[in-house]
Symmetry: C2
Subunit: 407 residues, 2 copies
C-alpha cells in the first residue's frame, strides 16, 4: 500500500477535459489499496480573474476579504475534481483547507501553517475515498479563511504529506523536474534526479521557480520526499529528499540559479552609532520588506558615519521607498541610492563546503566575461553574486558551462 499526496497546479486543472485527464492518470496508476490525496489550485486564470474583479471594487486588494474572495477559486476546483472522480466510478470527497484541518496564523494573504489535524482526511481515506483538498488555504483559530501566499498549494501538499506520513508528495508541474539551470536560458541544462532539501531550498530561494522555498522547508521539517514531475509525461522527475545516492553526493555543485527580482539600495552617511542601522532594517521588516544581501562599509576618512548597501525584492521597492521617505524625516542620512537594474546569480551544492575552488571558479568566470561583482554572499552550500541585470543570462550560461560542461 502506498500513501501518496499529488498536487496539481492551476494550468493542470484549467478545464473539465484537463481534470478528466488527471482522473484517468491517477486511477491508472492507483493500486486498489493505495490511498491518495489530491491537492489542487484554482482553475487556470481564476485567481487573476478574481483579482481583476476585486480591483473594480477596491484599491485595497489585500487583507481578510481578499482571502475570502480568492479561496473560492480552489473551492470550485476541488468540487469539480471530486465530481470527476465520482463520474469515473471512484469514491471521492473534497475538503476546503478548513475541513482538511489546516490551521494557520492570523496573517491574511500569507498565512503560515501552524498545525494540521488530518483526522478527517484519514477517515475519508479509510472509507475508500480519494480525498481532494483545496491548496493555498487554511483557517485561523478564529475561524477566518486565510491564504498561504505565493506557491501556497505546494505548501499545502507537503504539509498534508507530512501530517499523514505519506510515502511521497508528488508535485505535478509543466516542467518535468528541477534543472541545473533554467532551460530557457541554458539550453543544455540537465534534469537533476535527486537533490537534498537544503540544496533545493537554496536553489528555490535564489530564484529557481519550480518549488517555493516554504514548501521545501516544510518537506525537510517533516522528512517528506518530494517528487517534482511533469503533468504531461510519465517520466521520473526530480526527487527532493534528505539522503541522496552516493553518486549524487559526489557532485560539488548542483545548479546555477538566477533572480532578476532584485533592487540594490545604498544608504549613504548613516550615523555610525548603535541603533541607526538597526532602525533602517526594523522599519523595513515592519512593512514586510525582506532584506537580503547586506554590506556595511565604514569610511576611513569620516568615522562618524557609515554607508550600508543591501538588496531587496524589486517588487517591494514601492513599499521600501515609503519607508525611506519616513526615515529621512527622522534620521540624518546623506543620500539613499536605488538601483533597480540588478540581478543575482548563484551556484548551489552541498558538496562545495571545503572546496574553495568553487568560489574562485565562479569569480574567475565572471571576471573573464567582464562582469563586475557588486556584492558577494555565501552560505554553507551556496555562493551568490550581485551583478547588473543586463548581463545575468550571459553570467548564468558561462557559470553553467564552467561547472557542468567540463565533467
Amino acid at each position: 500500500m502506498a500513501l501518496i499526496v499529488k498536487k496539481f497546479g492551476g494550468s493542470s486543472v484549467a478545464t473539465p477535459d484537463k481534470m478528466r485527464a488527471i482522473v484517468q492518470r491517477v486511477l491508472k496508476g492507483k493500486k486498489p489499496e493505495d490511498k491518495i490525496v489530491i491537492v489542487v489550485s484554482a482553475m487556470g486564470d481564476t485567481t487573476d480573474d478574481l483579482v481583476t474583479l476585486a480591483k473594480q471594487i477596491t484599491s485595497k486588494t489585500y487583507g481578510r476579504e481578499m482571502d475570502m474572495l480568492l479561496t473560492t477559486g480552489e473551492q470550485v476546483s476541488i468540487a469539480l475534481m471530486a465530481m470527476a472522480f465520482q463520474e469515473a466510478g471512484q469514491k471521492a470527497i473534497s475538503f476546503t483547507g478548513a475541513q482538511a484541518g489546516i490551521k494557520t496564523s492570523d496573517s491574511f494573504n500569507k498565512g503560515r501553517i501552524l498545525a494540521l489535524k488530518p483526522g478527517r482526511i484519514m477517515k475519508a481515506l479509510d472509507q475508500g475515498n480519494i480525498v481532494v483538498v483545496a491548496g493555498f488555504q487554511g483557517i485561523t483559530g478564529h475561524g477566518d479563511i486565510t491564504t498561504l501566499g505565493r506557491g501556497g498549494s505546494d505548501t499545502t501538499a507537503v504539509a498534508i504529506a507530512g501530517a499523514i506520513h505519506a510515502d511521497v508528495c508528488e508535485i505535478y508541474t509543466d516542467v518535468d523536474g528541477v534543472y541545473t539551470s533554467d532551460p530557457r536560458v541554458v539550453p543544455n541544462a540537465r534534469k537533476i534526479e535527486q537533490i537534498t532539501y537544503g540544496e533545493m531550498l537554496e536553489m528555490a530561494k535564489l530564484g529557481a521557480g519550480v518549488m517555493q522555498p516554504r514548501a521545501v522547508e516544510m518537506g525537510s521539517r517533516f522528512g517528506v520526499p518530494i517528487h517534482v514531475r511533469s503533468t504531461f509525461s510519465e517520466d521520473e522527475g526530480t526527487m527532493i529528499q534528505e539522503d541522496c545516492s552516493m553518486e549524487v553526493k559526489q557532485y560539488l555543485i548542483r545548479g546555477v540559479a538566477s533572480d532578476k527580482n532584485v533592487a540594490k539600495i545604498t544608504v549613504l552617511g548613516i550615523p555610525n552609532k548603535p541603533g541607526f542601522a538597526y532602525r533602517v532594517f526594523a522599519e523595513l521588516a515592519e512593512k514586510h520588506v525582506d532584506v537580503d544581501m547586506i554590506v556595511q562599509s565604514v569610511r576611513i576618512a569620516n568615522e562618524g558615519v557609515t554607508d550600508i548597501t543591501f538588496t531587496i525584492a524589486r517588487t517591494d521597492l514601492e513599499q521600501a521607498k515609503a519607508v525611506f521617505a519616513n526615515l529621512r524625516k527622522e534620521m540624518p542620512v546623506e543620500d539613499i541610492l536605488i538601483d533597480d537594474k540588478m540581478a543575482k546569480v548563484s551556484v548551489v551544492g552541498a558538496g562545495m563546503a571545503g572546496h574553495p575552488g568553487i568560489a574562485a571558479g565562479m569569480f574567475g568566470v565572471l571576471g573573464d566575461n567582464g562582469i563586475n561583482i557588486e556584492i558577494i554572499s555565501t552560505s554553507e552550500i551556496s555562493i551568490t553574486c550581485l551583478i547588473a541585470e543586463d548581463v545575468i543570462d550571459k553570467a548564468v550560461k558561462a557559470i553553467h558551462a564552467h561547472f557542468f560542461d567540463e565533467d
Copy 2:
C-alpha cells in the same frame, strides 16, 4: 437605534457598479447607531454558470460536491460587498454561512436551518461593522457545507433577523412588493401594503413567486416583520407581519395566486385495502416528491378497488415516473394516468373563514367562463382549484376582477 437585516438577490449584486449602488443606498439610509446585516446571493448568473460547469464534468449535479461548488458564488459576493463598504469608508466584514453560525441538517442541496448562533455577527456589529453574510448556505454538525435550496437566501436573511432579534428583515427584489396577483397576468393587480404570515405563506405555497414559503414560515416562527421592497426605488413595499391594521383585516381575500408547475396523476384500480394507497405516497415521499391535492374515489360497482388522483410538481414528474415503474412491478393497479398540462388557481385571505360566499363566488366565475374544475382543495385561508393549464391566465384574470374590481 435600529437593527436591520437587508437581503439583496443575485440581480441586485450582478456587477461591481450594482454593488456600489447598494453600498450608497445602505449608507444613505443608515443612522450612525444603526446596526446592519446584509445578506447577498451569488452575482447575476454565477450559480447557473457553475451548474453549467458541473454538467461538463458529471451527470450527478446534486449531492455534497454540488453544494461545495455552488456556495463559492455567494462567497465571492460577500467578499466583494465587504470590500465595497470598506472602499466607501465603512467598516465591514464578510461571513460565510458557517462563520455566521448557520447550522443545517445533513441534507445537501436542501439543508434546513437547525440552529443559528449569532455570536460572531453580534460581536462584529458591536465593533461597528456592517456584516455581510452569504445567503443560501450553512454548515452541518460534521463541518460539511450545505445549501438551503431554492430561495435559500431569503431564508438566511429571515433566520438571522430572528436570531439577532432584528427590528425588520428587508427583502430587496426586482418587484416593489407583493401584489394581489401576478402583474404580468393581471395588469391592474394592486400592491399589498400589509399581509399576515399565514396569508403570505399560503400565497407563496400557491405560486406567488416573490417570497419562498420556508422564509415566510421562519419569519412567522420568530416573529420577524418582513418588508418586501424594490432594489430600485425608495417606495414602501409589502410588510409581512403577524398583526395587520384594522383596515387590512376587513379584506376577505388578499390575493389570487396561480401555479403552472403542476402535474395530475391518477392511479386506477388500487386494491382498496389498508396499506396500498399508503404505499404509493410513502415511496413518493422517500424520493422527495411532494404530493399536493389528493382525491380518493371508491367505485360503487367494484368495492375491491379504488382510484386515487393527486397532484405533484411537474418538475418532479421524472422522479415520480421511476417510482411508478417500480410500484407497478409489485402492486396490482389497473393503470396510472399522467396529465402534465394542469395548473392551480387559488384565492387567499384570512378573512374568508366563515364567508362561504367566497368559494361560491370563485366557482361561479370559473363556471361562467366555461372552465372545468378538476379538484378543489381548501385550507382555512385559501381555496384552490385544479384546472387546465391553457385557461389559467383567463381564470386568474376573471377571479381577480370578481374580487378586486367591484369594491
